[in-house]
C-alpha cells in the first residue's frame, strides 16, 4: 500500500508542473489577447515559407535522385 504515497508524490509533481505552466502562460500575457494570434498564425506561414517548403521538397528529391544514381 505504501507505494500509493510514492504515486501520489509523483502525480502531484506532474500536476503541479502543469499548474505552473498555466500560471506562467497567464503571466506571459498569453491570455490577454485571445483572438489576434489565431489570425496571425495563418499568415506567418507566408509565401516566403511556401518557397522554403518547395525548395526543401526539391532538395530532398535531389538527394533521392543523387542517391539513386550512386546505386
Amino acid at each position: 500500500m505504501s507505494v500509493i504515497l510514492l504515486l501520489i508524490f509523483f502525480s502531484m509533481l506532474v500536476a503541479g508542473g502543469f499548474l505552473l505552466a498555466f500560471l506562467w502562460a497567464v503571466k506571459n500575457g498569453q491570455y490577454d489577447d485571445q483572438y489576434t494570434p489565431s489570425v496571425r498564425v495563418l499568415f506567418d506561414n507566408d509565401i516566403a515559407t511556401n518557397h522554403n517548403q518547395t525548395s526543401e521538397v526539391l532538395k530532398t528529391s535531389d538527394v533521392i535522385k543523387a542517391s539513386n544514381e550512386k546505386i
Binding site: I4, A15, Q34, T36, V39, R40, I47
Partner: protein, 811 residues
C-alpha cells in the same frame, strides 16, 4: 433619367469606393482618390501587395484625410508629449501603444505587423485585434515617434491620439488575476476530488486509518490556497459591504465558506469525519467561472470617454506671423488659432478672419451648419466647413461653454454605488433568515447536547450557502450581455441588463439618434426640372464643398457633367457660375433671384423653419430644394411598440421644423421638446428622476453627454461603434435601432428568469436546511446536493435566456 447600373462602375482597388474620376490610375488599377493611390504606391514599392490578396479591398477611404498638411504632427516633437505617449523607453528603443480604430480585417493585422519592412527603425509591431491597438517598438536613433505616426498615416491607419491619452498613462484592462485564481482553484478542486474518492465510494471502512488522516491533511493543504487566495475577492467584497453597513450577497457566501473550512479542519484533525473541502473548493471554482462568464467586456469599445477624446490634440497657433502646432491643453486666452476645413474648434473663441460655416450637429444637435461672421463667438466643438478661418481664444479648453458640462455633479457621482443590484437585496434578507434558522437549530439541540447543537448550526450555514443564487445572476446576466452583443447592443457590464429591466421612461435625442446623421431627404418644389437642367445643377454643385451641395449632387442621377466657368461661392449665400453658357445660381432666396420673384412665390406650408436652397437658371427662379430629416428604419415600429409600456420623450437641440412629423410618430405632442441646450437636457432627466422615474436616455452626441450620464441607463447610438461616443452604459449600433424594443423586453425577461431561478435555489435550500435541522446530513448527501443544485440552476438560467432570446428574435 437613366437607371444606374452599379456593376458598370469602376471601384477603387484600395477601398472599393466607386471611382468618380477615372483618371486616378496607377498601373492598370483604378483609385477613387489620390490618398488611396498614394497608399497603394507605398505598399507596391515595398512589396507589401499581399495586403490586397488576404481580404478583398481592405483599404480605408483616404478622401477625408488631408495628407497635404505636413505640420499636422509637429506637436509630437515635443519631449513632454512624447514622454506621455511612450509606454516604455530605454537608451536604444521605445515601445508605444496606439489605438487604431480602423483595424477591421486580417489584412490590417498583416500590414500593421509588417511595418518593419517599411522602415528599418521599427523593430516589431504587434496588433491586438479585439482592443484595436497596435504596439510598436522602434529605435529612437533611426526613427522618431512623429515619423512612426506619419508612417502609419501614410499607409492609411491614422492612430487615434486624443487629449485623453496625454493626460494619463495607458491602462491595460486585464483579467490575469482572475485567471490565476481559477487556475489554482481548478487544480486544487480536481486533486481534492481524487483524494475524496474513497469517501464517495464508501471505501472508508476498508481504508486504513493512516491513509484517512493522510488524505484529510492533503485536502486541507490543497484547500487552504483556494479559500485564502482564490476566494479572497469574495471576502474583501463582503468586508467592504460590512464597512458600509450593508450586507451583500457575498456575506452569506463567505459565511458558508468559512464555516465549511473551519468545520472540515476540525473534523479531519479530530478524526471525526472527512470534512467538506471538496464541496468548498468546487463551489469556489464554479463561482469564479461564473465571474469570468459575467465579465464579458468589449475591449475595443470605450464607455468612459469625455470631451477630451473628441477634441483634437493639437492646434495651429499663429504667433507673430509664424504658424506653430501646439497641444490644445497649452492653449491660453488671447491665442490666435487657425482652423482649416473639417477641423474642430477646440475652445470658445471669437472669429477674427474668414467666413465661418460651423457644423454644430454633434455638439448641440442642430442639423444645419451655422454661419458666423467676424466678431461673433464660436463655441468649442463646432466643426468648420469650408475655408480657413482665424480665431482668437477667449476661454481655455476646460472652461469652454460645452466642456463646463463636465463640471456638473452628474459626472462626479460614482455610478456603481447608485445602484443596488437585486442579488444584494436578496442576499441581505437571505442572510438574516439563515442566521435566525441556524440560531434556532442551535438552541433546539442545545437541550440534548452541545456537540449536536454545533453540528446542526454549522450544517444549516453550509447547506444554506446561497451558491445557487450567487451563480444564477452571473450566468443569466452574462448570457444576456452576449445575446445583446450579438445584436450589436454592447453593454458596459452585466449590471446594465438589470438596470434596463427597471426602466419606465425613455428619452430620445433627435439629431443623429432618431434621424440619420448627415443624411437628409431632398425634395424639389417648383417647375419640373428637365434632364438638361439637372445636369447643369449637378455640374455646378460638384464644385462646392458645402454639405447641402453634396446632398443635391447625390440625388441627381449621374450623367456627363459640364465644365463650370466663373464659379463663385459666397459663404452663407450660395454658389453661381456659368455652365454650358447658362448662368446658374443656387442658394438663399435673395441670392438666387431678385425680390419680386420671391414674393410671387407660393408661401411655404410648414410653420417651422426648414432648410431650402433656391435654384435660378438664367435669372429664372425654378423652385427650391427642401431638406428633411430621414428617420431611422423601424422608428415607427419601435415607437409604437414602446408606447404601451413606457413614457417616451424627445429632446432636440434643433429647431421645431420637424415637430409635425415627430408628433405623428410619437403621438403625443406634449412630450416633444425643441431647442434644448446640453444643460437643459441634463436637468430634464433630473426632473424626471425626481418624480421617481427610471430613465433611459438614448443619444449620440456630446450635447447628450450630460443627460446620458445622469440617466439610469445611458445608451449612445453610433453609426460606427469604434468612433467617438460619449460616456455611457451601453453603445447601440445604429443598424440595430429597429430591434431596440425587443432588446429592452428581453432584458426585462432576463430579470424574471433570475427571479424564477432564485426561487428554485431557495427551494433547494429549504429542503437542505430541513435535513440539516434534523442534524442528519451525511457528507455524501451534502457532497451531492451542493453541486447538483448549483449546476441545475445554472443550466436553467442559460437555457431559458437562450430560449427567450430566440422567441424575441435575437438569436
Amino acid at each position: 433619367m437613366s437607371v444606374v447600373n452599379l456593376k458598370e462602375q469602376v471601384r477603387c482597388f484600395h477601398c472599393s469606393e466607386i471611382c468618380v474620376n477615372p483618371d486616378i490610375l496607377s498601373g492598370n488599377k483604378h483609385f477613387c482618390c489620390i490618398g488611396c493611390k498614394a497608399v497603394y504606391e507605398i505598399l507596391e514599392e515595398n512589396n507589401l501587395c499581399r495586403y490586397y490578396s488576404l481580404d478583398k479591398n481592405p483599404g480605408l477611404n483616404q478622401k477625408k484625410l488631408d495628407t497635404e498638411e505636413k505640420g499636422r504632427y509637429s506637436y509630437l516633437d515635443d519631449t513632454n508629449v512624447i514622454s506621455r505617449l511612450v509606454n516604455f523607453s530605454d537608451s536604444s528603443s521605445s515601445i508605444v501603444n496606439f489605438t487604431v480604430p480602423q483595424i477591421h480585417c486580417s489584412s490590417c493585422i498583416w500590414l500593421l505587423e509588417n511595418l518593419h519592412k517599411l522602415n528599418h527603425g521599427i523593430i516589431y509591431s504587434e496588433v491586438n485585434f479585439l482592443q484595436k491597438t497596435v504596439s510598436v517598438r522602434f529605435r529612437q536613433s533611426e526613427i522618431s515617434l512623429r515619423e512612426v505616426i506619419e508612417l502609419l498615416v501614410s499607409v492609411g491607419y491614422e492612430p487615434q491620439i486624443s487629449l485623453d491619452d496625454l493626460g494619463t498613462a495607458h491602462k491595460f484592462h486585464s483579467n490575469r488575476g482572475l485567471y490565476y485564481k481559477i487556475g489554482i482553484a481548478g487544480f486544487c478542486f480536481g486533486n481534492i476530488m481524487l483524494f475524496s474518492f474513497p469517501e464517495y465510494l464508501a471505501f472508508e471502512t476498508h481504508l486504513e486509518h493512516f491513509y484517512k488522516q493522510f488524505f484529510g491533511l492533503w485536502n486541507i493543504l490543497l484547500g487552504a490556497p483556494v479559500i485564502f487566495y482564490s476566494a479572497s475577492d469574495y471576502f474583501k467584497s463582503a468586508w467592504n459591504g460590512l464597512k458600509q453597513r450593508s450586507i451583500n450577497i457575498d456575506f452569506p457566501i463567505c459565511l458558508g465558506l468559512a464555516v465549511l473550512f473551519i468545520r472540515s479542519v476540525y473534523e479531519i484533525s479530530s478524526g471525526t469525519g472527512p470534512g467538506f473541502v471538496d464541496s468548498m473548493t468546487g463551489l469556489i471554482f464554479f463561482l469564479l467561472i461564473g465571474k469570468v462568464f459575467q465579465s464579458k467586456t468589449y475591449d475595443a469599445l470605450n464607455f468612459e470617454r469625455n470631451y477630451k477624446s473628441y477634441f483634437p490634440v493639437s492646434v495651429t497657433v499663429k504667433n507673430d506671423g509664424k504658424e506653430k502646432n501646439i497641444p490644445v491643453s497649452k492653449l491660453s486666452t488671447g491665442d490666435r488659432i487657425i482652423i482649416r476645413n473639417n477641423e474642430l474648434v477646440p475652445a470658445d473663441s471669437i472669429l477674427f478672419l474668414g467666413n465661418a460655416n460651423i457644423d454644430y450637429s454633434f455638439v448641440t444637435g442642430e442639423s444645419a451648419p451655422v454661419l458666423k461672421v467676424a466678431g461673433e463667438i464660436i463655441y468649442a466643438g463646432g466643426r468648420q466647413l469650408g475655408s480657413v478661418i482665424e480665431l482668437e481664444v477667449i476661454r481655455t479648453v476646460s472652461q469652454s461653454y460645452l466642456t463646463q458640462l463636465w463640471n456638473k455633479d452628474a459626472f462626479a457621482k460614482n455610478e456603481e454605488n447608485r445602484f443596488n443590484s437585486m442579488v444584494n437585496i436578496v442576499g441581505k434578507y437571505f442572510t438574516l433568515v439563515i442566521l435566525t434558522i441556524a440560531a434556532f437549530a442551535f438552541l433546539f439541540w442545545m437541550s440534548t447536547d452541545i456537540h449536536t447543537a454545533i453540528n446542526a448550526f454549522t450544517a444549516v450555514l453550509i447547506i444554506a450557502c446561497p451558491c445557487g443564487i450567487a451563480l444564477t445572476s452571473p450566468f443569466a446576466l452574462g448570457n444576456a450581455v452576449r445575446i445583446l452583443g450579438r445584436n450589436k447592443f454592447y453593454l458596459k457590464n452585466a449590471n446594465v441588463v438589470e438596470r434596463i429591466s427597471k426602466i419606465d421612461t425613455i428619452v430620445f435625442d433627435k439629431t443623429g439618434t432618431i434621424t440619420k446623421a448627415g443624411d437628409a431627404r431632398v425634395t424639389f418644389t417648383g417647375s419640373m426640372l428637365t434632364a438638361y437642367e439637372q445636369r447643369l445643377i449637378k455640374s455646378i454643385v460638384r464644385n462646392s464643398t458645402h454639405p447641402l451641395s453634396s446632398k443635391i449632387y447625390d440625388i441627381i442621377e449621374p450623367d456627363e457633367l459640364f465644365e463650370v466657368k466663373f464659379f463663385k461661392e459666397s459663404t452663407g449665400e450660395g454658389i453661381e457660375g456659368i455652365v454650358d453658357l447658362n448662368l446658374v445660381r443656387l442658394g438663399a432666396a435673395l441670392f438666387a433671384a431678385d425680390r419680386n420673384h420671391i414674393l410671387n412665390y407660393p408661401e411655404k406650408k410648414s410653420p417651422g423653419p426648414d432648410t431650402r436652397v433656391f435654384v435660378a437658371i438664367n435669372n429664372h427662379l425654378k423652385g427650391y430644394f427642401t431638406f428633411c430629416n430621414i428617420y431611422r428604419n423601424g422608428l415607427d415600429e419601435v415607437a409604437e411598440s414602446l408606447q404601451n409600456d413606457f413614457d417616451i420623450y424627445v429632446l432636440s437641440g434643433d429647431n421645431e421644423g420637424e415637430r409635425e412629423n415627430l408628433a405623428r410618430i410619437f403621438k403625443d405632442d406634449e412630450k416633444l421638446k425643441f431647442n434644448q441646450t446640453p444643460h437643459q437636457k441634463l436637468s430634464f432627466i433630473e426632473k424626471l428622476q425626481d418624480r421617481d422615474r427610471k430613465v433611459m436616455m438614448i443619444g449620440d452626441g456630446l450635447n447628450d453627454a450630460g443627460a446620458l450620464r445622469q440617466s439610469d441607463v445611458g445608451v449612445a447610438l453610433s453609426e460606427d461603434i469604434t468612433n467617438f461616443s460619449p460616456a455611457c452604459d451601453a453603445i447601440l449600433d445604429a443598424a440595430s435601432f429597429s430591434s431596440l424594443n425587443r432588446m429592452i423586453r428581453f432584458s426585462r425577461n432576463t430579470k424574471t428568469i433570475i427571479i424564477i431561478s432564485f426561487i428554485i435555489s431557495i427551494i433547494y435550500n429549504i429542503v437542505g436546511v430541513a435535513i440539516a435541522f434534523q442534524s442528519a446530513v451525511s457528507p455524501m448527501i451534502a457532497a451531492i446536493l451542493m453541486p447538483l443544485s448549483s449546476v441545475s440552476v445554472v443550466l436553467f438560467t442559460v437555457l431559458s435566456t437562450n430560449f427567450i432570446g430566440k422567441r424575441r428574435g435575437l438569436i
